[in-house]
Assembly symmetry: D3
Homo-oligomer: 240 residues x 6
């Protein structure tokens, strides 16, 4: 079976990380996964939210948004509508949880890392690209902290983190769905894993028919392959 863009079922789209894309942010990456393009910016902010003050612990939070014309047809701005949609909320929370899963908050001290993931162009997999790119930007921000003697990057990050989507399309499991595949998928799953191969988040949804345990197992296998490959690409990007 060949896919719409010629990939095999377990093949990722080409991934690029452009580090330092923004001159102001402490860490930033323009990550591309095929035609999906997400700008990830990490801001180091002194202090922590009120409820965490005096704990000696840091905090990591994330906000996800899409530019109005990142999509095929223009979407209204949430700032103009005056409220965040449920999907935006949900993805922002997912990114934050994923990154917090590899951070040692006590080493970070009472500093906040705010991660902004803005989708410039969307072609499926924006939330997973955001997580994968945000890790690289976070690494750079933590290095920046280290050079200022605020924290040591080795100890702040306990592991790396990457994410990928998998799904069942026309009865076939597939890795890294692009938009046309995503809208026709019967099952859609986003998986967040550490570089060490453990899971941070598994979110599988039956869009069409419910899925069986064996389909679930197969999808998890694809996800493990995909995340392992993304971990390698993150390492290369950070080494360059």
């Amino acid at each position: 079976m060949t896919r719409i863009d010629g990939r095999s079922a377990d093949e990722l789209r080409p991934v690029k990380f452009a580090r330092g894309w923004l001159e102001h942010a402490e860490g930033s990456v323009l990550v591309e996964s095929g035609r999906t393009r997400v700008l990830c910016a990490v801001s180091v902010i002194e202090g922590v939210p009120r409820w965490r003050k005096g704990s000696g612990l840091g905090w990591v939070t994330a906000e996800y948004a899409m530019l109005p014309r990142s999509t095929n047809t223009r979407s209204d701005r949430e700032s103009v509508k005056g409220r965040l949609g449920g999907r935006t909320h949900e993805i922002s929370r997912l990114i934050g949880r994923s990154l917090r899963g590899i951070i040692d908050m006590s080493v970070l001290g009472e500093n906040t890392l705010t991660v902004d993931c803005d989708v410039l162009q969307a072609d499926g997999g924006t939330r997973t690209a955001a997580i994968t790119g945000a890790y690289v930007a976070l690494h750079d921000a933590v290095t920046w902290l280290g050079t200022r003697g605020l924290a040591s990057s080795e100890s702040v990050l306990s592991d790396s983190v990457a994410a990928v989507s998998v799904g069942v399309v026309d009865g076939e499991p597939m890795l890294d769905l692009k938009y046309e595949e995503d809208v026709t998928a019967e099952t859609d799953m986003n998986v967040v894993m550490t570089g060490g191969g453990s899971f941070i988040e598994v979110q599988g949804t039956a869009e069409g028919a419910p899925f069986s345990r064996s389909e679930l197992d197969e999808l998890l296998l694809y996800a493990e392959t995909g995340c392992a490959r993304l971990t390698e690409l993150q390492r290369e990007a950070l080494a360059s």
Copy 2:
């Protein structure tokens, strides 16, 4: 190992379904799972949202909310704050998706079933209790539709649906976490399954340390047991 309330690791809390708890709603259930109490009301509304008009298809949507003093300490009302929080959005969407997974929209016709799940008292597992209870209320609403000749309940519902939480607490997998277990869980997973044993949604999150594939497998097993038992209880409640 004994749990805080004396249950064994794979044991559900006592579940009760009080059908027809509201006199106005087309279907309603006060579901209790231990001390967790959720009032599920299904409203049959003629017509569908604008984007679905003329399709001949029905729609099912859900809203989840917590009363301010359902929790241990009082929470502010979202109506007073003027915005829905991310958690509320996320759970409302989950309930809606779960119920849509077993509905044949074409048999429903251009009618909307709006499912309100209001948590009266919370002790962990409110979202899964909401789904489990909402199915029973939905069944009653569909029967109501049938008695009015609007749709036949057998054909609207392709299966039943139930949900349960599982988690790893102190290194041990456990079924149906109550509040004190939930806040200390290293891994927390919500699983939505059909009566037939397929998955509609799997949402696992590492709250503390990342989890391994084998832990994931074990948790899924517990969830399968729990959902099967809930399915039986739903059947009994609907038979009475």
Copy 3:
């Protein structure tokens, strides 16, 4: 003349108080007046609003809301609409004023009693049922304060408070209107009284034709009878 549900003109609907309906709240009552069902929860919160700090005085505030399907046809959630309606505001303020009328704020100390009245099922008279039930829940919360040595319940409450609706329907004065009576009433009045027989609030509105002074007097008489009976029922409930 017989009423829609067989009551005489000056007869209350059956009233029930289920005390301690919620396990978390310091005081709680599920009050029923016929088919109207309101869940009243009182939360004791240390401290007072900013404008009252340092005064040595306590504060009592109330919030009223209706579940979407408490009514005959479903109403939209105010949390989803993002703003409170005028009616909600108005009733919340009425409940707060009514309860403050019997509280000695200096004995309470700098503590806040927040009273949540959530209508689970509506059949007319929800605001008066809320006040009548809230008093019972408040009494339990004040007792809770007393057992913790924070305040003495005898001295915090200077009297009891109850409320009832009266109205002119088809030219006849009537006590305790249910929904069908309420919507056809020419005049509608809500009266809040102390156990001692004084008035805390009188709100009469000509829905149809203006009303005369003699009609007003007659309605007040009915209200006095109704509140006196509710006061007895409150006492019985608190004694049990």
Copy 4:
């Protein structure tokens, strides 16, 4: 007993109606009651709200607001805060109900009269001045309708309407409270009456101690006197 401004207990403050204060509005009055100044503007708008379409009936609605510096110390704008306060909602609703009480909606046809009452300067009694002034502006707007052959003013208005505040201050009943009296009143009552002497609205509140039936009766007597006098003044203003 002499009052702060030398009036006797049952004496109104000087009242002035400046008709036609605005050149654009179909009816407008700058009403003054002592130092309280309210600008009332009535706009005739073709059509009625959606829920009333096709009924053949008109509609009357009101909005009340205070300029930020109408008060002794500046208040924040509700437009800047982004939400209407409960008091604003409550008074807007009261004004609308009061005016609807004397309008024959079927004679009005499917037209809406929108009444804007903006407090330019506040010294107590702003809501009652708003109602009293709004009636005069409404009369002018109805005359305007008549001259255009849209409706006949005689038949649209079934009566006139006026409103006044009464209260118990230092144990003494008083008519038409100014600000300093209002803040120290034990009981505060707003009464809306028709020119014919019937009641449209009675709203009495115990601000301090609960009030007895005899106090209530005395206050109603004062209110009747005050409204009768205001009715005369309205007639004079409309005759000039």
Copy 5:
């Protein structure tokens, strides 16, 4: 060429300043420019916004709003809509900047002057009338500060400020456009100048065709004439 109201091209409409129109405000003016009527109120508030605390400097801020029926047809209230429109924001900011241009913030000390400009009736040129009137009210508020020994008015105000609109209508430059001229103007310019003849703000917009440099020069000349005349009128008003 004669204008719609008989003025010559470089002639202002009649201007009136009614000082002390409000009894509560530290400075207030009802300014009229033809039929345009704006109520300007200046409130002296102790303290400054948080971001300015500890600087020893004062602050001046302005809010502009229109009453719903100040205009030819009724506009919705921004408080009811729940958000400020872009035009309101823009004009509020313009008024604030204009007044700050003549204030010595260090002499003012850590006090805030809040300037409310509420349009009671609109016939073109409301923003420029607001600035011209606000200066007079500000002067009175600063005098009030002086009499309390809080600041000396001479030193707080470095100059006076006035504003006027100019435009090209039917190919002709004109001073002080009234509504009918404004809506048909090809070019519309608002100019804010000090009493000394310098510019604080120049905002020119091509509503129809773009304008040439020579048209721009001609309009600026008209604006200079107009502002000079307004400066004289302000002086007279403050002298009386």
Copy 6:
């Protein structure tokens, strides 16, 4: 005098136009002016706003926004705050007016061009870069319309449009201020001009001291030079 980045007083920063930066939009440009980077996307949307329906005329509207970390320190998202700030409103309106100044709405037909200008990185002059870039994107969108036979690009655009900032810094007039110059400028002016050399918008503000007529003239001269150069660069970009 040398400027902070070595430019002469009347020298623009290097400008780059990356056309077609987005694959979904009908016209898009990533415009760079020094370190300022704005992504301009033009969406062709069938139909016009309600108030313009049936007119046969098209519409052009613009929205401006900044990414949270486009600035030196992170700014909060307006979507999270739930309201647009005054500056955002003001700039969005300026961009829309500027583009409408060169569009023949009748040739466009009842189509809307929505222009999104998102600042990815800010270093002064973001609103003028947005206008200059948006013109290029608009041209591409109009060409797209032409190729679909919907409108002819020659006739839709009556001219080109470009914008530049000028200001007085340390007493010296300067063209195209970067951030550090902008914050210290005494006078700041944004000028929008057509390719033909006419003005569409002139907005000059005294940030520090008021400015004289001769300073204004000098600044306009610089702006004319700058816009002429930008017009050339736009032509080159569109020719490539």
